[in-house]
């Protein structure tokens, strides 16, 4: 895993520019919670001045891995290489807590077990008092959180789309990588993706063998587990004849399009090139063709870090939304919503602060609905509004398009 | 009499030593000469024992080191136009007249810098710069006769401060003769320098108490293409302040000058200038804007409109340079005209946050009434700066109540967050009041620093600190 982090750290000029964008640093002002600080810690590790300690682990885990710092770094430091090395260092040297380890190593790679685990918990979730719009505490997937999370779906996305709906003369044939959140919770997003694409005369396959993308394990430095998952996913998707692979999850796109290049090596390149975020895909392949009747709602867009800061995708989702609604921009659309991974568990207070800011930006925009391209962000932002008795709805932008799409033009002949 | 006692202090031997070192022709001990260097524009007087008029840094250095050896007070002097007693040799000793060191050493148009000797008259420098289409902004009312050395020593402000800042902002480098006669160079003739501590600005505004400035390098700006001037008369101060607010706060126009004058001042200048002043005028604003042709025309008409909106009684826009001069004549004659009202004047020159001007003026006029003493206010209102003149006729009793009034006023000023002197300096006139503004330990620090440079206390003793 340690490609060349040891030399990568030397590239950092210690200029401090990462201060300007790091969502965690902007909240705390702690030098230990920004790339520059962590890079210097990595240097110290390399130079054997320090060893792995609880404190160090905390500092490593306090990175959201949003990669926004990398986008401004004038010295071109590939911070991801460094943070990944630190994460796996933590994992190797300090181990991974038992429960996640079991989940990463034994359950995630086995769909049946995962399904079973969640099914059990979806049964017992009724034991937990229901609060606020059908949301529940403690989804087992985020086993340590203190968070409000939507109830589990009765039937997972994979189960729903076991069979591919055949089109007569499809323009393209694409595979959908669902990702865990969509598979188990936001099945409606998957439905929207399939529906929209079908109506655009694109056949959608949902390969059944696919597994978790591996982000949860990478986040905790367990790159071995990630590799296992990646191997399976590679096999599953390569065995299909697909023109493209789409996802509706920004984090999954980052994982399978970008991270797998490191996990799996250059052999993944040709597949990687075919992976798209759903809006990106639509904008690229159907942008001029589909017709809409914009819904009568003000919709704003939140940029998921993993889409904007990792991939620079910002216009495409907006193009889709502009065609589908009365689009309004919010200030700080690219600011992190605070959601995601181990960070929300360790730094729940910071997560909340980021969320508060996000919610305030959305409110200022005057939008009725906030759309985004990541189920993680949907979950986080909905959480922010849940307690507030707010009328503002949170949704995936594909669901807006689904409502606005008119069956004419390319999708008429269906 | 004072001069006799002082005279005894400088022994013949020292006198000879001085003459040897700097030439007999530059050392004056006749009473006529000494009287002529005994005062400044505060009208305060104290006759020095000797007047020395050096022509070079070396002569200054020699004078100072001899004075230092013999513990003789030295009072540097520019044009003696100061308004806080800075160049009055209140402890006798040597009046060091720097007016003979008045060369513009080099003006480097490309570098936007000029180096001058301290005795150069401010206006002369400005005129010289203008020949190169350059501009030295600080413009005290006394620019026509005060010296650059005096300006730097007082950190003079002036009419253009609103837009261009004060003298300090233009000083790049100094040659200084220290109290032991040694010569140092501070700063750099570059537009920027941060090497080491900022000795340059530390000496700016030090009022001749730390050393004698013998060469001064200043920064210049390109000369604005055009200046436009509006005079606007108002019924009362309230309207003036409203107009000011709408010009600079609401509309963010950034005039070159924004001068205000109150009713008493208007009474004093009425008739002394060409401009006819409306009968009911209780205050005026004189506004300069500069920039390019179009900008100026635009700003002037906007400002005029804003004045009218705020119930100006009359506005005049200068169309020619002569008209402009005529308008400024009115403003410039204020200070001297006040002597028409009474023979004595105490010149307060405070500055408050601009939003507090209304409040402080109200207090001041009330206090004037309480003490039955006339007060006249004018000043650079855009910066919250007020020249408050307490006008009175000489007399023991009067002196006492004037003193009381002044200290009352300054107390109010400080209370409101203002400063007791914004451009005239402390000198001896305000030395007793610095405790109002500065904490005892801060004054101690300043005194200690003074001692560090001038352990024997020969440089302009009796100033700033009492």
């Amino acid at each position: 895993m340690s490609t060349d982090w040891k030399t990568e750290v030397d590239k950092c000029s210690k200029c401090g520019k990462c201060h300007t964008v790091c969502p965690v640093f902007l909240e705390t002002g702690d030098e230990s919670m920004v790339s520059r600080g962590r890079i210097s810690l990595a240097e110290a590790l390399r130079d054997k001045q320090i060893v792995y300690t609880d404190k160090l682990r905390d500092y490593v885990y306090s990175c959201k891995k949003c990669m926004r710092c990398r986008t401004v770094c004038p010295s071109g430091v590939d911070y991801e290489v460094i943070i990944s090395a630190l994460l796996s260092g933590v994992a190797e040297n300090m181990g991974i807590p038992l429960l996640p380890r079991i989940i990463f190593r034994y359950i995630l790679p086995r769909r049946i077990l995962f399904d079973l685990m969640l099914k059990v918990s979806s049964k017992i979730q009724w034991l937990i008092p229901m609060k606020r719009r059908g949301q529940m505490r403690h989804l087992p997937l985020l086993f340590m959180g203190k968070r409000w999370i939507p109830t589990l779906a009765k039937k997972t996305a994979l189960q729903k789309f076991r069979k591919t709906k055949k089109l007569k003369n499809p323009k393209m044939r694409v595979g959908l990588f669902t990702g865990c959140l969509i598979n188990y919770i936001y099945v409606d997003i998957a439905e929207a993706v399939v529906d929209v694409l079908n109506r655009m005369n694109i056949e959608v396959v949902v390969p059944q063998g696919q597994l978790c993308c591996g982000t949860p394990s990478s986040t905790m430095g367990d790159f071995k587990s990630t590799k296992k998952l990646a191997d399976v996913n590679k096999e599953v998707f390569e065995s299909q004849k697909l023109d493209a692979i789409v996802t509706a999850c920004a984090t999954c796109t980052k994982a399978i399009k970008m991270d797998y290049l490191r996990t799996l090596g250059p052999s993944w390149q040709s597949m990687s090139d075919k992976i798209y975020d759903i809006s990106e895909f639509i904008d690229k392949y159907c942008g001029d063709e589909y017709e809409t009747k914009p819904i009568d709602e003000k919709v704003t867009y939140h940029d998921p870090c993993h889409l904007l800061w990792v991939r620079g995708i910002s216009d495409e989702p907006r193009n889709v939304l502009k065609k589908s609604s009365d689009f309004v921009e919010m200030d700080q659309a690219g600011a992190c919503c605070g959601g995601g991974g181990i960070f929300t568990i360790i730094h729940y207070d910071l997560t909340l602060k980021m969320l508060e800011r996000k919610v305030a930006s959305i409110e200022r925009s005057g939008a009725d609905t906030v759309a985004t391209n990541c189920p993680g962000c949907v979950m986080q932002i909905a959480d922010g509004f849940a307690g507030k008795n707010s009328k503002i709805k949170t949704t995936h932008s594909i669901q807006i398009l689904q409502k606005a799409l008119v069956d004419s033009g390319i999708n008429k002949e269906k | 009499m004072k001069q006799e006692t002082h005279n005894n202090k400088i022994q013949a031997k020292v006198f000879e030593e001085l003459c040897d070192a700097i030439g007999r022709e530059n050392v004056f001990d006749n009473i006529e000469e000494r009287v002529c260097y005994s005062f400044d524009a505060t009208k305060e007087k104290s006759i020095p024992d000797l007047v020395i008029r050096p022509h070079s840094t070396e002569q200054v250095s020699n004078t100072v080191s001899i004075a230092n050896q013999h513990n003789i007070p030295i009072c540097p002097r520019g044009a003696g136009t100061g308004l806080s007693g800075g160049s009055v040799p209140i402890k006798g000793g040597i009046a060091l007249d720097l007016k003979n060191m008045n060369r513009i050493v080099e003006l480097n148009a490309r570098d936007l810098t000029v180096t001058v000797e301290p005795g150069v008259v401010t206006k002369d420098l400005q005129d010289e710069a203008a020949k190169h289409r350059l501009f030295y902004p600080p413009e005290p009312g006394s620019a026509g006769f005060s010296t650059i050395g005096g300006n730097v020593a007082e950190c003079t402000g002036g009419m253009t401060g609103m837009k261009y800042g004060v003298t300090r902002d233009y000083v790049l480098a100094l040659e200084i003769v220290l109290p032991d006669g040694s010569v140092i160079n501070t700063g750099s003739k570059t537009l920027r320098s941060v090497a080491g501590y900022d000795l340059t600005r530390f000496f700016v505004g030090s009022e001749g108490t730390l050393g004698v400035l013998t060469k001064i390098t200043l920064k210049l700006l390109p000369l604005p293409a055009k200046i436009g001037t509006v005079m606007s008369y108002f019924k009362d101060i309230d309207s003036v302040l409203n107009a000011t607010d709408s010009i600079i706060v609401k509309n963010h126009l950034h005039p070159r000058s924004l001068e205000f004058v109150d009713k008493t001042c208007i009474g004093a200048v009425r008739g002394s200038a060409e401009e006819t002043i409306p009968e009911e005028a209780g205050a005026f604003l004189l506004i300069d804007v500069d920039g390019n042709e179009k900008n100026v025309a635009n700003d002037i008409s906007r400002i005029e409109a804003l004045c009218r909106e705020n119930s100006a009684l009359k506005t005049s826009i200068a169309k020619t340079d002569d008209e402009r001069d005529a308008l400024w004549d009115v403003r410039k004659s204020v200070s001297p005209s006040l002597f028409k009202i009474a023979s004595m004047k105490f010149n307060d020159d405070f500055c408050v946050p601009r939003s507090k001007v209304r409040e402080v003026l109200k207090k001041v006029y009330e206090l004037g009434k309480t003490y039955s003493i006339q007060v006249a206010a004018f000043g650079h209102i855009g910066e919250g700066h007020i020249h408050l003149n307490v006008i009175y006729n000489d007399g023991k009793e009067m002196d006492l109540s004037v003193h009381k009034l002044v200290s009352q006023i300054l107390k109010e000023v400080v209370l409101i967050g203002g400063t007791i002197t914004s451009e005239h300096g402390v000198g001896d006139a305000k030395a007793e009041f610095i405790g109002l503004e500065l904490a005892p330990h801060e004054i101690e620090i300043m005194k200690d620093l003074k001692k560090m440079f001038d352990p024997k206390g020969i440089m302009n003793p009796g100033k700033i600190f009492i």
Binding site: K14 | K189, N292, K294, N295, R354, T419
Partner: protein, 468 residues
């Protein structure tokens, strides 16, 4: 190095200091774990030195108490803003305590009517500029690091920046300071009024003192109305001297642009690819020019500036049409400093300032000094002020570091010989203290040291900086 924890008694002292700090400030403001100390061990020079303790004060009295303890035990105190300094100012060379002032980052008040504002030192410059922009006000000092450096650090270094030609530097905007002195006492200098000349100008004495005289805990600044409009123009030259001539001609035309930035060929090659519009290989020098003012003044000045560039043989000029284009032009400029590491891994950053008429001469000298070209020198900077950042880039090969040092030495001598200064805006720190003597005579140096001795008799404030 004087790490006070080295010997046995010293280590006792260390524990005592730590305990006392924790007692007075509370545990959460006092960090002593190695991980934390590492994160406060460096600045923008890439130098490193480990502090023993990091204190994160929340208010003036925290700072005062820390200094009292440090003074009692004679422990070095290193004030630190964002650690973006380019001369090593915030690096705790002798260990001791790093005082991280980023934790004091409140804007205390903005008074739009008075054109003043008061801030704590840890406020990030750009953040402050954005806040006052809401009132249509403007705080001009604008170092390229404005988005991440602190106002406290700016004041301590007397930072300049790209707007200096027209608007001056940090010094010109500071009205009043609250300062904690080395014995923990607190003084207030200056006044919150636009003018004040009461007593000596301690404010300016402390500006640029690089944390060696005291710690700023409150800063009152002067504001001015925000210019209504800004236009940006990039001019491309095929000859360095042409660019310099063009800069001269613009100013000769009586125009002071808001910014007038110069980049030479080596600099351009380092940042090539950073902006949206790639810079062609034939570009040997670049001027980036901002003009601000009103609609009318800009419509007058912009053509004059553009023509001046053309007259001096700019082969292309480009006026930014959208805010985005403008931003992208300036993003390139702001990335220079770190992007230079693309040329070579090591950099000596000189920040010379010469009279403008001497720029050509000094650049020629720099060329001559480096005639063998085994080391790369990139020049860029605020050409209107004569402030050029001369960056000497070298790699790990044996002898290169020494060669670079000797080149720096020669350049510094030339700079002083033409009447220039060794530091236009970055300060002295420890990186340039060895050159102080070139510019500053022993007499003046002695005076500065007396100031230092006066305010900091025990030598605990930022030891190892400014003087050697």
């Amino acid at each position: 190095m004087k790490h006070f924890k080295k010997t046995k008694t010293e280590s006792k002292k260390h524990q005592k200091v730590l305990n006392e700090l924790i007692m007075v400030l509370g545990g959460e403001k006092v960090l002593s774990a190695i991980e934390d100390r590492i994160c406060y061990s460096y600045d923008g020079t890439k130098q490193k030195a480990l502090p023993d303790i990091v204190v994160r004060p929340g208010c003036t009295s925290d700072v005062s108490n820390t200094l009292k303890i440090a003074n009692k035990y004679e422990i070095p105190i290193y004030a630190r803003g964002a650690g973006t300094g380019l001369t090593g100012g915030a690096v705790p060379l002798m260990g001791g305590i790093v005082l991280d002032l980023k934790s004091m980052n409140r804007i205390i008040e903005i008074c739009p009517e008075d054109f003043v504002a008061t801030v704590e030192p840890g406020v990030v410059t750009k953040h402050f500029q954005d806040e006052i922009a809401k009132f249509d006000l403007f705080y001009p000092p604008d170092p390229s690091s404005a988005a991440f450096s602190t106002i406290g650090g700016n004041v301590a270094e007397c930072a300049g920046g790209i707007t200096g030609l027209k608007y001056g530097v940090t010094r010109d905007y500071i009205l009043a300071l609250e300062i904690v002195l080395s014995d923990g006492s607190v003084i207030n200098t200056g006044r919150k009024t636009l003018r004040s000349v009461t007593g000596y100008d301690l404010t300016r004495l402390f500006i640029g003192s690089e944390g060696t005289l005291g710690v700023f805990t409150r800063i009152t600044v002067k504001l001015i109305p925000k210019p209504k409009k800004i236009e940006t123009l990039a001019a491309y030259f095929s000859d360095r001297d042409d660019a310099i001539d063009a800069a001269d001609l613009i100013i000769d035309n009586n125009i002071l642009p808001r910014t007038l930035e110069f980049m030479d060929q080596m600099t351009i090659s380092a940042v090539r690819g950073y902006g949206e519009a790639p810079i062609g290989e034939d570009v040997k020098a670049l001027l980036l020019i901002d003009i601000d003012g009103t609609e009318e003044s800009i419509s007058h000045e912009l053509p004059v500036v553009e023509n001046a560039c053309k007259e001096k043989k700019a082969f292309k000029t480009k006026v930014a049409e959208t805010p985005r284009e403008r931003e992208s032009i300036w993003a390139v400029r702001r990335s220079i400093s770190p992007a230079l590491y693309n040329i070579a891994p090591h950099k000596i950053n000189e920040d010379i300032c010469v009279p403008r008429s001497k720029i050509k001469e000094i650049l020629q000298k720099v060329d001559q000094i480096n005639e063998h070209q085994t080391i790369y020198i990139a020049n860029f900077g605020h050409i209107g002020d004569g402030n050029i950042h001369v960056n000497i880039m070298y790699n790990d090969d044996p002898g290169q570091a020494a060669l670079a040092e000797s080149i720096v030495n020669k350049i510094m001598r030339e700079v002083v010989a033409v009447g220039g200064t060794i530091s236009g805006e970055h300060g002295i720190g420890n990186k340039k203290s060895q050159f102080m003597e070139l510019e500053i005579s022993p007499k003046e140096l002695a005076i500065m040291k007396r100031f230092k001795g006066f305010f900091d008799p025990k030598g605990i404030m930022n030891p190892g900086k400014m003087f050697i």
